[in-house]
């Protein structure tokens, strides 16, 4: 029977080198891993898969988080950031979700998050907003952006 291409002729030395490389690769992973904890870990586990590390999202499917603190300028916008499915459905309790949103605001909209008028989310506030289901997140987002842009058609 013919040998498979590349399947024969490996020396014990070659296997030893391969095994050493494997061990080195396995050892390098944990040693180089960065510790992630707190709200940042929640962002990585529950948000970053779609919104990406820099918050940039994906064109036409995942909104960017850059400057998303502008929603805080109106009460419905402040509620929207909690009621949007990615927030409201996250497997986090209200205190953890409040901490996560506050961390995200500092990370992706530092100018607004450091302004004197910035008021961080609190757990009780998140509880209140989360209790009101959002039937059409896209439509609500468009409406809020029209209001924020000064378009009167955005008002209900």
């Amino acid at each position: 029977m013919a040998r498979r291409a590349g399947g024969g002729g490996r020396t014990p030395a070659a296997w030893a080198v391969a095994a050493a490389l494997l061990l080195a690769a396995a050892a390098a992973g944990p040693a180089a891993a960065e510790a992630i904890s707190g709200p940042r870990l929640d962002y990585v586990l529950h948000c970053m898969g779609c919104h990406l590390e820099d918050g940039g999202g994906a064109p036409e499917s995942v909104p960017t988080l850059e400057g998303f603190g502008r929603f805080l300028q109106i009460p419905d916008g402040r509620a929207y950031l909690v009621r949007v499915p990615g927030s409201a459905h996250a497997p986090l309790d209200d205190a953890a979700l409040a901490a996560l949103l506050n961390w995200m605001l500092v990370r992706f909209d530092p100018t607004r998050a450091r302004a004197p008028e910035f008021r961080p989310y609190e757990a009780a506030e998140v509880t209140r907003y989360r209790a009101v289901p959002l039937a059409d997140a896209d439509a609500e987002r468009r409406r809020l952006l029209r209001v924020l842009d000064g378009d009167p058609s955005g008002d209900r």
Partner: protein
């Protein structure tokens, strides 16, 4: 010339030829002759077609999942049992011309992905793993690995590995999956 005048050697030759022809006719019917001839011609025609047929079949049908790479030590990145693969559902890129952290040539890594954690048996810690899909070529078909630890139904999209995460890539065609360590999860 009368028969009696035929030389004896020619008569022997005639009888031998006649006997040989009758023997051949008795042992070889037309049906069997046609059958054997047909088989020979058909076989000769089929031989050069076989590789072509396989190629066309391979290009039109998704390749079946092959069993290679499914067993192996949990420290081997090309094995389904590799610890980082605890929640993967897809073809291992290390079997498809790439590695557990890099896409094969001709494919593009989807930026949008799903992220979970796996316990590293070497130190017992939970590591954050990003299962980025590689997109742009048809299904790899090798080393299907479906472990699903921590996987959630599709109504929880950020935690579901059944979603085609190539949806936001330049090509939505799924090829294989990677398992990239983002960090180690620690208590705050």
């Amino acid at each position: 010339m009368s028969r009696s005048e035929t030389p004896s050697w020619e008569r022997h030759l005639d009888r031998w030829a006649e006997a040989a022809a009758r023997q051949l006719a008795r042992g070889l019917s037309r049906r069997s002759l046609l059958g054997r001839l047909g088989a020979t011609l058909a076989g000769a025609a089929a031989l050069p077609l076989l590789p072509v047929s396989r190629v066309s079949a391979a290009s039109s049908d998704p390749a079946p999942a092959a069993p290679e790479g499914l067993d192996g030590p949990e420290g081997d990145p090309s094995s389904c049992q590799y610890w980082r693969h605890c929640a993967i559902d897809g073809f291992l890129c290390s079997c498809c011309g790439g590695s557990h952290t890099a896409c094969p040539p001709g494919t593009v890594m989807s930026p949008v992905t799903w992220i979970g954690t796996c316990r590293n048996p070497a130190d017992g810690r939970q590591y954050v793993i990003s299962y980025n899909d590689c997109c742009g070529k048809h299904l790899c078909g090798r080393c299907l690995c479906n472990r699903n630890e921590g996987d959630r139904p599709a109504y929880l999209p950020p935690k579901s590995n059944d979603i085609n995460w190539c949806a936001s890539a330049p090509s939505t065609v799924y090829h294989c999956s990677t398992a990239i360590v983002l960090g180690v999860a620690t208590e705050s």
